[in-house]
């Protein structure tokens, strides 16, 4: 492979990347092969975001880039230069848990807790997707009016479908859905 030549020649050229992480500006020089996940964990010591498979299968590394949920293990840090990153560490407001975090705690939406930052980050972004009218496969089980206006209820079935990319091997799925639903109901009141 010709691309190997430059690696074998010596140290890689580093690249400068600037991000806003949970509201704070960060500029770092990184190895261009560094994933957003490894940058957060190994360089910036923001270890709330977890590595579960490192190839986009499990969802444990889910966070938001410019408000959209992404798998940080499949995202090269250099490719999101200039972006706004929101991780699980940025969800609580000065020590006050977000509604979603509190609901996960109260409804026991986890056991070992390892997939939890990904579940919460995913649910956080998913609720915004739903609120702005993004459809899922399940949405088409609703009425024509609901589908065309994007005003479908965030049912348990919708939550399960939209959260299916976040694996919980402990199997706390039912409680996670209850937690998300509780926040959704609160938001509707």
């Amino acid at each position: 492979m010709s691309s190997n030549d430059q690696y074998e020649a010596g140290d890689l050229c580093e690249t400068q990347t600037s991000l806003r992480i949970n509201g704070e500006a960060v500029t770092v020089k990184i190895d261009p092969r560094t994933t957003l996940l490894d940058l957060l964990r190994e360089t910036l010591h923001l270890t709330g975001t977890k590595k579960g498979c490192d190839h986009g299968l499990c969802g444990a590394c889910t966070l938001s880039v410019d408000g959209e949920r992404v798998l940080s293990c499949l995202t090269l840090a250099a490719s999101v230069d200039g972006s706004e990153i929101l991780t699980v560490e940025g969800l609580a407001d000065k020590g006050n848990l977000s509604e979603l975090q509190q609901a996960f705690l109260d409804h026991d939406g986890f056991q070992c807790g390892y997939c939890t930052p990904g579940q919460i980050s995913s649910a956080h972004a998913m609720m915004q997707e739903h609120a702005r009218g993004d459809l899922s496969m399940v949405s088409f089980e609703g009425t024509r009016d609901e589908v065309t206006t994007g005003r479908m209820e965030l049912s348990d079935h919708e939550i399960r479908e939209r959260m299916a990319g976040n694996i919980c091997r402990c199997g706390a799925y039912a409680n996670i859905v209850t937690a998300v639903h509780a926040v959704e109901r609160g938001a509707r009141r």
């Binding site: 490894d38 709330g48 579960g52 190839h55 705690l105 026991d108 390892y114 299916a164 402990c170 799925y173």
Partner: protein, 761 residues
């Protein structure tokens, strides 16, 4: 004792950290000067690595930017062989890692690359390619049984052929070869004989196994995602030929284990060696693919079940023979037939297990070891017998209910299985089931209802607990157990607070440090009974010492009262004659004098296990929809009723049981490690249940304490949720489709095969 906290739905004590990302798992720990290790593993199942190619690969990797060290067989410091007690009936490998150039399986450790960053180590590892002299691999039990047996190698570290193990782990009474009754099976009107297979399953905890090793003044500290701190310390001490006192193993929060994260610690000792060599802390995180080869798996089974019964469905003879697989370098036997020895009344019983040594990674325990695959076979066979006898499956099971433990001859400590059937049937609505296969439909798809019995032993071992009291009256209980998601920190806090008479906020439970008093591995559903007994004793002792101190100390309000007249509850000391005083206020005046008296260790035994047999039971009911046009089975509804002693925290217990059922659902419909049958290479992904795959749950506990096992009346619930689940699903699929499917996982292809009347017995 007022039981105020036990039985209540306390939130997880570490829950706040888990929802904020503050919770620390092994790989989250930072150290100055930390180096990153990446493992290289073999890519063929059997043969030999060329020595010259190893040297070349090492030179190639070493010359890469950032690479500090390469550990491989030709430069690996000699590791000691593990003692027989760790390898004889436990799945620790007989052969130390990197100790020869033979290849026994795909994914055998070959080298460890240590570099300044993870990226640099990963790239250098990709250049570490070697040449092999391949040999013919034996990749299945059938291949082993058909081939001539090669002699042992390396003084018995490498073994071939197959064998008949005597017992399960260290439990000599859990016999893997067992029989009672007549030599020959009787001639009976009803006879069911079938063969069932289960595939290689992976634990697949979402946390990858990780370790960080560092040395200081000849002492080793290891942070590891382990669920057996004391076992790991013994193994490391043996490998490295150093005293256990010089090794500290820390297991912070563990991100799921399910039977893995024990026993296979070769990557940990290699990380320790690398750290010693480079004199810096070294961190290793296994890749997801390496999790399949380096942390154990549930091995394949082929089980033959043979039930003879009278015309009214009473079992007269049971045979259960298991053929399973282990590696050439370690002992393990999936004990599929253990519960067949006692689950149903059967005058005649024969159980056997044969383990064949194949060129695969070493297997180990996985949630419901034995029971998960074994009850699949037994409970589907019971369903087959129910149809043969024209009996309702619950009626058949009730007729064969075992009033005592036939394997040991002892009475059960408690048993409420018949209530589980009755309550489960009522909650599920079983009475409206139409028994004939293919007789229920909904919205164009077939609907089936299935049932199976769940069972798992009630276990308890010895454990220790340390009590530390500070000057403000905060009490910390510590034991070298592990928080793997089982909720041990929460329920132990509840147990300790109740037994000490303190409120939750004055009590802390710590786990995960080898400097704490010992506890066994977190597995076999034994933690709550085992550690709970130690914590209960510790907290009771704390309260006795505290009351005694109050009546003995001259400046105490309670001086010269009878200690037994002091009643403690929720952090207050009550007497008949005086106003209640808070423990906090007592500490504000007497604190310094109390600290030493209230800091101590206790040791609890395994209790008296002579009189009774301890066993948990349950009944699993499910509904499955099968769309035969697209080959999809959807589990829509689940009712589980469980008899597993006293429930300490219903919220956590329900969660763990739902998780166990979901684990069994994956085993039934999705999970198998996708090895290519010829090359033993991974050729796909391992499918797991997702949010979209799980049923609606109705979980109920009988909640009858078992005080014969332990003073808090519990039997663990880690495994029983999984037990019986694959059978309940397979039985529901039979009811929906008329197809008796005996090979797991039940796949799309099996479900799409057209139904033929009378084709399936």
């Amino acid at each position: 004792m007022p039981a105020e906290l036990i039985g209540t739905e306390v939130n997880r004590v570490e829950g706040r950290d888990k929802v904020t990302g503050a919770a620390l798992y092994t790989a989250d720990h930072a150290f100055p000067e930390l180096l990153h290790a990446v493992l290289v593993q073999t890519e063929i199942p059997c043969g030999r690595v060329s020595s010259l190619s190893l040297q070349n690969a090492t030179e190639r990797a070493s010359s890469q930017p950032g690479v500090v060290y390469v550990l491989m067989p030709l430069n690996c410091p000699a590791l000691q062989e593990l003692p027989r007690e760790l390898t004889f009936d436990l799945p620790l490998e007989r052969r130390p890692p990197l100790s020869d150039l033979t290849v026994q399986h795909v994914g055998q450790h070959l080298a460890m690359i240590v570099a300044t960053t993870f990226e640099k180590a990963t790239y250098a590892a990709s250049l570490f390619t070697v040449d092999y002299e391949p040999e013919v691999a034996l990749l299945s039990a059938k291949a082993v049984l058909a081939a001539p047996v090669e002699p042992d190698a390396k003084g018995g570290q490498i073994r071939h052929g197959s064998y008949l193990p005597d017992h399960f782990v260290k439990l000599e009474e859990e016999k893997l070869q067992d029989a009672r009754g007549e030599t020959q099976a009787p001639a009976t009107p009803l006879h069911v004989q079938s063969t069932y297979t289960t595939p290689i399953n992976a634990h697949y905890p979402i946390e990858l196994s990780a370790c960080i090793a560092h040395w200081q003044d000849g002492s080793l500290t290891v942070h590891d995602s382990t669920r057996w701190i004391y076992g790991e310390r013994s193994a490391l001490a043996a490998y490295l030929n150093m005293p256990e006192e010089k090794i500290r193993v820390l297991s912070p929060l563990v991100g799921g284990a399910f039977g893995s994260k024990s026993f296979l610690w070769m990557h940990v000792v290699l990380t320790a060696l690398a750290s010693r060599e480079v004199r810096r802390p070294v961190k290793l995180v296994l890749t997801r693919d390496q999790m399949f080869s380096s942390t154990g798996h549930r091995p394949r089974t082929e089980q033959s079940l043979d039930l003879h019964a009278s015309a009214d469905g009473r079992i007269e003879s049971t045979e259960h023979h298991t053929l399973t697989e282990t590696s050439t370098v370690a002992h393990f036997c999936e004990p599929a037939g253990l519960s067949t020895r006692f689950l149903y009344e059967s005058p005649r019983m024969v159980v056997s297990h044969r383990a064949a040594r194949i060129n695969s990674p070493t297997p180990c325990f996985m949630r419901g070891p034995g029971e998960a695959p074994g009850l699949f076979a037994l409970e589907v066979a019971m369903d087959e017998l129910a149809y043969a006898a024209n009996l309702d499956p619950i009626e058949l099971r009730s007729r064969n209910h075992a009033a005592m433990d036939q394997a040991s001859g002892k009475p059960w400590s408690t048993k409420h299985l018949l209530e589980c059937y009755a309550q489960g049937a009522e909650r599920f609505g079983w009475s409206s089931r139409s028994p004939a296969p293919r007789s229920m439909q909904r919205k164009g798809v077939q609907v089936g209802w299935g049932v199976a019995t769940a069972t798992y032993p009630g276990r308890r071992m010895a454990a220790g607990c340390r009590v530390t009291t500070d000057g403000d009256g905060n009490v910390t209980f510590s034991s070298a157990t592990h928080e793997v998601g089982n909720g041990v920190r929460t329920v132990m806090t509840q147990v300790a607070a109740d037994a000490a008479g303190l409120p939750l906020d004055q009590v802390t439970f710590q786990s995960g440090d080898s400097t704490f008093p010992g506890a066994p591995y977190s597995g076999a559903s034994q933690t709550t009974a085992t550690v709970g007994s130690a914590v209960f004793l510790a907290a009771q002792t704390w309260q006795e010492r505290f009351r005694q101190s109050l009546v003995e100390m001259e400046n105490s309000t309670f001086h010269r009262l009878d200690a037994s007249a002091l009643k403690m509850e929720g952090g207050f000391v009550n007497t008949a004659s005086r106003d209640a005083l808070s423990v906090r206020s007592i500490f504000s005046t007497l604190g310094p004098a109390l600290v030493d008296k209230l800091t101590f260790d206790v040791q609890s035994t395994a209790g008296d296990q002579e009189k009774f047999a301890f066993q948990s039971f349950g009944a699993q009911f499910c509904e499955v929809e099968v769309d035969e046009e697209i080959g999809r089975a959807t589990v829509t509804r689940w009712t589980g009723v469980f008899d597993c002693g006293r429930v300490l925290n219903p919220k956590l217990a329900r969660n763990q049981i739902m998780g166990g059922i979901t684990f069994g659902l994956g085993m039934a419909l999705l999970e198998q490690v996708p090895y290519d049958a010829k090359t033993a290479q991974l050729i796909g992904e391992y499918y797991l249940p997702t949010h979209a795959d799980r049923p609606e749950f109705d979980i109920h506990f009988i909640d009858a304490p078992d005080y014969a096992l332990d003073p808090i009346g519990v039997r663990g619930i880690g495994e029983i949720g999984t037990c019986g689940v694959p059978a309940a699903i397979a039985n529901a699929i039979f009811h929906a489709t008329g197809k008796r499917l005996r090979d797991l996982p039940i796949t799309l292809e099996q479900l799409m095969t057209p139904y033929e009347e009378g084709a399936v017995r």
